[in-house]
């Protein structure tokens, strides 16, 4: 079957549809607007120059994310600073919190509170939450992007969500505690 993405116009149109997702991921990686914009552009430059483009829409987004992450890692290596992704997979036990009624608080949270909580997560946790819950990648796709086993994806995602629950719980409890003290 002919790879329709060999046509630059078709490829360009399809790739451009993922610019918001890529920019969001770039912000997740860099935490800096200017660096994120540069990273997005570099990603598209690499993608446009690549000879082995994916052959379907379903693979395109993940492929672009892989390119972006590799480009970012290269930048870090050139800057002689490694990504701060170590140790998060082993430090904390996975806490499912299934018995904890955090959701009671979550229902009251504004969307911005959730965003702020995501932004305040450690880098590796924020990244995997963005890949899974914001961008909707499967575990297998995330493993490809992060270049790690699927088991690591599952455990890291569990810890990231546990941490996020705690942050959201904290942010929602605080106003209640303050109102009690003030009364």
């Amino acid at each position: 079957m002919m790879n329709r993405f060999k046509n630059n116009a078709v490829f360009g149109q399809a790739a451009l549809e993922h610019i918001d997702a890529l920019y969001g991921y770039a912000m997740t990686l860099t935490r800096d607007t200017s660096e994120a914009e540069d990273l997005v552009q570099e990603t598209y430059v690499r993608a446009a120059a690549a000879a082995n483009r994916p052959d379907s829409d379903s693979n395109l987004k993940g492929w672009l994310f892989v390119i972006m992450r590799n480009a970012w890692l290269n930048q870090l290596r050139h800057q002689n600073s490694g990504p701060q992704f170590v140790d998060l997979d082993t430090n904390e036990p996975i806490t499912e919190n299934q018995e904890n009624p955090h959701v009671v608080y979550l229902r009251k949270l504004e969307q911005t509170q959730v965003r702020e909580a995501i932004q305040s997560l450690p880098d590796a946790y924020r990244e995997i939450i963005v890949l899974r819950d914001i961008e909707g990648f499967s575990y297998h796709e995330i493993a490809s992007v992060l270049d790690c086993p699927a088991g690591t994806v599952m455990s890291r995602l569990g810890r990231a969500r546990g941490k996020l629950r705690k942050l959201l719980h904290r942010s929602s409890v605080k106003p209640l505690a303050m109102s009690k003290r003030s009364s």
């Binding site: 360009g12 920019y23 540069d38 446009a48 120059a49 000879a51 050139h78 979550l106 270049d147 969500r161």
Partner: protein
Amino acid sequence: MTKCEDIRGRLTLYLDGELQSYERATVEAHLSECESCAAIFARELSFLNAVRESGPLHVASPEMRAKVQEILTQGSAERAQLPASSRTVRSQSRVSWLVAIATGLLVLLLPVVVWRIVREPETPSTTRPSSFALMAADAHLRHVRGQLPLEMESSSPRDVSTWFANKVDFSVKLPNYQESSGQEKLYTLEGARLVGFEKDYAAYVAYRMKERPITLVITSDSVAKPSGGEEIAAGKLMFHYNAIDGLKVLTWSDRGLTYALVSDLDERGQQSCIVCHEGAKDQDFIKPLKPH
């Protein structure tokens, strides 16, 4: 483990769409008859919905969209040169190792691997493959599937060698073996990328022989030691051969570096390589590697 514990352990996978249809049916059947698990499920679903509905976290500006549009409009293979950035050039490689033998071994060893497979197809590996061999095989597969794109594409050994400078802690210098040997061009160099291994980076070099992909992964021997599989002594080197997921993987260490060579070349292609290299100058080297 009780039924409830079993189901609760799979709720996250269910919510993430990672279960097979029959597993999903099992979970759904239990949730329909267990109020306790159904309540937990509802809380989990609510939490994930809150997170998922918080996106998108960022939106590209019209200016950036226009720049990217321009990049894509002009996009073609000629744009392989990346824009200059404000990257700080890393200090020179701490260890300087010459990989002059790498490409030569690429051609020399593949015939041996398949020769052994053809002669002794049922021979089991004596021990498990090393993690480095497993990583190389996995990286090869993902690259073939399009999930691990090359970061640079070039058929020039010199360009590939240059690209690795300052990216890995060893010098990757790929000689132009075919041209220097005057032999028929049996394979083509496609490009390279970095791959993660043991919290460090290994050099990934992609070749193609008769339309079949070949992968050479290189790292420092302080990071990976070849082990496991069938051991084949040749000269001063010890090679380890494994069949992993249908791939032929050969690992070895030499001059401070560890290599993994991965391919799925078939018998016919390899035999033609053997014929080509039977009369080569490396005859003394290749002889001990042949199966007895």
